[in-house]
Structures are given as structure tokens and as C-alpha cells.
């Protein structure tokens, strides 16, 4: 029998995961996250409060609910043009996510969504932290720290005044929307 050099033996998952592990090791070696990464690739405790969300996700682009809402509604409109009954076309996961992000979007129009991300990105936040703040829009510094404890514990601790300014700017977008 002829053996094709094809992807026969390569379980897609098996290959992918080992590849990812290699990537994250190479990256983290430089910034002192080596031990954490090693244990994350195994089944170690994740904890979003300490920003332990695994390297794939830490480096990935996070989306705020309002951004997801724009993306999903756009996709839904596209489907609508192709079929009469788009709700039949989409998965339950899509439907539930769309309902959820519509309900919990802080900013409705695309301009304010962009502004919100622009303001938050001035403060050297991790993607995940940025999106938690954008989603929950805390009103006080104390509340912001309770929502995202890692902003105070990651070496580059933000000053209270800076946090206050950030929250203020955010609430202004909302006011002028």
C-alpha cells in the first residue's frame, strides 16, 4: 500500500496544542513568565483576577460586549440578505450571544465604541483588563479595583488619580452619546 505523506496521522488537535505550547514557551522566556506559562500549559488553576488566563488568551485580542454586538449584528444582516429566515441559519450559541451583547452593551454607536477603546488603551492595560472595564463601567476607583484587581498588583500599578481620570473620561462618552 502506498503511504501518502499526508495529514493522516496528524490529529488536528494533537498537533495544534503542542505547537501552541512551543510558541508560548518561546515568548515567555524573555519576560519572566516562564514558570507560569509552563504550568498553564498543563491543567493549572486559572484566575482572571490575577490575569492568569493562559497565554493564548492573554495575547489574543479581547472584545468588549459593544464590539461583539457590532460584529454579530453585521453578520446577522449579511445573513438576512441571503435568506428570509436568518434565525434558522444561525446556531444557538450565536443567537444567545447576540441577545446577550445587545442587552449588556454600554455603548451603542460605533463611534463611542471606538472612543471607549481609545481612552482605555492609553493606560497600559492588558487586553483582558481593558475589556472588563469597558464592559462593567465601574463608577469609583474602589469599584474598578474590585472588578480588575490585577491593575493594582502587576508591578506597573496605576495611580488612583489615573484610574479616576480614566473612569471620568469613560462616563463622558456615555453622557454625550
Amino acid at each position: 500500500m502506498i503511504q501518502w505523506p499526508g495529514p493522516l496521522g496528524l490529529g488536528p488537535d494533537g498537533k495544534r496544542s503542542s505547537q501552541h505550547a512551543m510558541d508560548s514557551l518561546a515568548f515567555s522566556n524573555t519576560d519572566g513568565l516562564f514558570l507560569r506559562t509552563l504550568s498553564m500549559s498543563g491543567e493549572e488553576e486559572e484566575n482572571a483576577a490575577e490575569l492568569k488566563i493562559g497565554d493564548d488568551f492573554l495575547k489574543a485580542k479581547c472584545l468588549m460586549n459593544c464590539e461583539v454586538s457590532l460584529i454579530l449584528e453585521h453578520k446577522y444582516e449579511q445573513l438576512q440578505q441571503m435568506a428570509d429566515d436568518p434565525m434558522n441559519q444561525v446556531s444557538q450559541v450565536f443567537e444567545k450571544s447576540l441577545q446577550y451583547v445587545k442587552r449588556f452593551s454600554r455603548y451603542k454607536n460605533p463611534d463611542s465604541v471606538r472612543q471607549a477603546r481609545e481612552i482605555l488603551s492609553r493606560y497600559q492595560l492588558a487586553e483582558f483588563e481593558l475589556c472588563v472595564l469597558g464592559n462593567l463601567c465601574p463608577e469609583t476607583v474602589e469599584e474598578a479595583i474590585a472588578m480588575v484587581p490585577s491593575i493594582k498588583s502587576r508591578g506597573r500599578a496605576l495611580e488612583d488619580e489615573a484610574i479616576e481620570k480614566m473612569l471620568n473620561d469613560l462616563s463622558l462618552i456615555k453622557k454625550f452619546e
Binding site: G6, I53, M64, S97, Y100, R103
Partner: protein
């Protein structure tokens, strides 16, 4: 939290689809296959937003099927332990309540509801403070913290708490009407 990430999948295509619109066939099959699925590692795949690259196809021995490695961008929803998010209450009983955040179900046991809230049975079961000022019932919006996740092949299930600072009811449907 929602993320925008790049995933890879080996797609098998029947030879009858080979032709001008091979690529479209591949993409529509990919959407059908992965949208709405869930894995413990990447969470729920909500929507595919773009194709990064379709690799070289390899003919499989004996069948004539061809396998294409496809890299695609997608929106995923992945809950993390320690994450704080908003959710809608879907069911209340004496054990606690269930809430939904997009595609994921979260259970909050009555041990993790503040002690001053009592369960009230009736046709609209709810948890209420002794002075009646705060009420959790179906359709209430709550802010909660995820403290545990259970992953099986096709679903992620979470345990949450509202017994912490700045957590609890955001709005209750009874007050609005």
C-alpha cells in the same frame, strides 16, 4: 469574555466540490462545522469573521477526499475563573439561581448569595432582602464572579458568587415595570 482569535482546522472536501467555487464550498462547510461548537480550550465559537489562509490540499488514500488546512479568525466566548461579568437570571429555586451570560450557564448556590437575602417561594420564586429593597428573580440582571468552571466535550458550565463587594443585582424587572 469574548475574544477574537485565529484557529486552524483540517477540512475534508469531497471531490464533487472541486471547481471554481471550491473555496466558497470550503468556507461554508467550515462555518457549518465549527460555529456553535464548544471546546474546553477555546470556549464557544460564536462566529467566523474571516479566513486567514487555506493551505495546500492533500489527497487521502483510498477515498479521493482532499484535506485542506484552513486558518480562520473567529469570535469565541470563554469564561474564566475569577472573571466578573453581567448575566441574566433564568431560574430561581431554593438551591440558588441559574443565570446566563451569552452561551454559558452559571449557577449561584444559595451559600454564595448574601446571607441577608431570603428565598421566597411562589409563582415568581425570588431571593429578597428583609427590607424588600433588593430582589433577585427571573429576568433580573446580576453582576457576578465566576469561581469555578466545569468543562465537558460540548459544554462549559460555571459556578458563580454574588457574595462580594460590588456584586449583585444591577436591575430587577419588577422595579422597571
Amino acid at each position: 469574555m469574548f475574544f477574537h482569535i485565529v484557529l486552524e482546522r483540517n477540512m475534508q472536501l469531497h471531490p464533487r466540490h472541486f471547481g471554481r467555487d471550491l473555496r466558497e464550498k470550503l468556507v461554508s462547510k467550515l462555518m457549518k462545522d465549527v460555529e456553535g461548537t464548544c471546546s474546553g480550550r477555546h470556549g464557544f465559537v460564536v462566529a467566523i469573521t474571516g479566513i486567514e489562509n487555506v493551505g495546500k490540499g492533500l489527497i487521502r488514500d483510498g477515498t479521493g477526499f482532499v484535506t485542506f488546512p484552513v486558518k480562520y479568525q473567529c469570535v469565541v466566548f470563554r469564561p474564566f475563573k475569577g472573571e466578573i461579568l453581567e448575566a441574566v437570571v433564568t431560574m430561581v429555586n431554593k438551591m440558588g439561581f441559574f443565570a446566563e451570560a451569552g452561551p454559558v450557564q452559571i449557577f449561584v448556590s444559595n451559600h454564595l448569595i448574601p446571607d441577608d437575602m431570603e428565598f421566597q417561594s411562589g409563582d415568581m420564586p425570588n431571593y429578597t432582602t428583609s427590607d424588600g429593597s433588593v430582589k433577585i428573580q427571573k429576568e433580573s440582571e446580576v453582576r457576578l464572579k465566576i469561581i469555578g468552571t466545569r468543562v465537558d466535550a460540548t459544554e462549559i458550565f460555571c459556578i458563580g458568587t454574588i457574595k462580594d463587594d460590588f456584586l449583585g443585582v444591577i436591575s430587577d424587572p419588577g422595579a422597571a415595570s
